[in-house]
Amino acid sequence: MLNLKENNVDLIKASAHEIAQAVKSQKITAEQVTQFYLQRIEKLDKEINAFISINPKAIEEAKAVDAKIKAGQTVGTLAGVPVAVKDLLCTEGLKTTAASKILENFIPPYNATVVQNLKNQDAVVLGKTSLDEFAMGSSNETSAFGTVKNPWNPNYVPGGSSGGSGAALASRMAVLAVGTDTGGSIRQPAHFCGVYGIKPTYGRVSRYGIVAYASSLDQAGPMAHSTQDCALMLEAMAGQCRHDNTTSDLKVPEWSKNLNDQVKGLKIGLPKEYFAAQNDEDTKKVIDAAIAKLKSMGAEFVEVEIPLVKYAVPIYYLIATSEASSNLARYDGVRFGHRTDMMANKAKGIDELYSLSRAEGFGPEVKRRIILGTYALSSGYYDAYYQKACQVRRLLRDQFLDAFKKCDVMLNPVTMSPAFKIGERVKSVLEMYMNDIFTTSTNLTGLPGMSVPCGFSKNGLPIGVQLTAKHFDEQTIFNVSYALEKHLEKEVRTPHVI
């Protein structure tokens, strides 16, 4: 293994920005950085299980970045920065499974726009991280390739669905990680793993090449070790895409350069309903400390009301599963993915080909959501479930927009407690779904939301604080996150694998 302080660059602690600078100034090569991280994965991932596959061309890609620098060519903002990519995003020539048996051997013929955008900035893809199957889950326990362990305590879940990305970061097997968030899948694992993670405004980032779960809710976003790295990474990921008509044509701001830790006069809303919930004592303590710090820095706090958030979980699950049942119709055993053995199963005709291939390929949670979604869309139930949920969705968004007339940003818990134990919630479907109570509204309303690590529970598990802002106002979120990162006193802890 390379020295930690290779040429005065402490690779285990260095930010993406620092690594890119060191690579550009040839203090270190992209190859050395990539090698260092691949060795960490080799050493640690047997225990954590964060990666589904490793990019066999990572070293080759790093060498190409070095060659560009040596030749005097301009390189991108993420030159030589090792990135872990959630295995939900298509990577050309590199297996993309969505953590499902049905896509176990799927090799995409193209890159997702997000992946291509990161490569355009000369980032190096280390490998593909695990997730709940098709991003359906809040604990990473539904992955077809084994549960991911939380690096802070291997008996606990890393959260989900981007749990592999969260765990890879927390154990420093990557400098940056791509996550996706349909109902909390970036923010909740970031909170459970003690890292930063932002779900941008719906339309900020292209969904092209991302295995679709619920298209009106899905957004990809960055997960990182600092506010600045998140901002830098989002600048690379975001932008209008000709392959995704829901991307916004707004110019991508230079969030990382415009970071401002001064919050004086900023109005921060505290949603009453989120604070009335049964949040555990450790969570309350961390949230209160964050509020006290921002108050001492001159931020003003106001209480806001969003009564409809108590329906966020039902609206979310009705809409998400409806969209999923339609999106997942493409897995039919014909064009790609698993196909049943017709002979062995004595199957006849196209219908049996479909229904057996799907039965064999999908895991229990995915089946549950397909059935729920198909039911919500079926004749006789469409008006009562899907249509009704979409109507309440508009009312919920209106309440959020009204609340934002009184404040610039909202602050509240990400979930009611820190990470839970592996196996603790698998028995109760409803209990697992209710875990998403504070995160799903952000997707339903399309607002940007971020999880910012702010402290620890008594037993040493990380706790994050959630920030939500108006549509396309990621800058305010980054600024508050930056203020907390720089000024909030918190215990210095690291997982045992560091």
Binding site: I371, S378, Y385, L395, L447
Partner: protein, 93 residues
């Protein structure tokens, strides 16, 4: 309440073969979940337009041009069964 028969029927609509056990478990679990979800039926949504895309995004129109981005051979490379550049399926008629 979603009966075992409902689950069977939905499974057929979704082209998803379910075992007896799966049908039983799903009927119980989803009845429980739907009971909770039905709370939204109490809300007055008369005349409310359903919200589909959550943020304000302008519709972008473009010329309908044919552009080949990925070679057909690459697109069919993942097919479980194929014949040239065509997908093979059991007889459908």
């Amino acid at each position: 309440m979603i009966s075992k028969e409902d689950v069977q029927k939905i499974g057929q609509l979704a082209r998803l073969k379910l075992s007896e056990t799966e049908v039983e478990v799903l009927s119980e679990q989803l009845s429980n979940v739907l009971k909770h979800f039905e709370e939204i039926s109490k809300l007055d949504t008369k005349g409310v337009l359903p919200l589909i895309t959550p943020s304000e995004i302008a519709v972008h129109l473009r010329q309908d041009e044919v552009i080949q981005e990925v070679a057909p051979e690459k697109l069919v490379a993942n097919a479980p069964e194929k014949s040239g550049n065509l997908f093979k399926v059991p007889p459908v008629v």
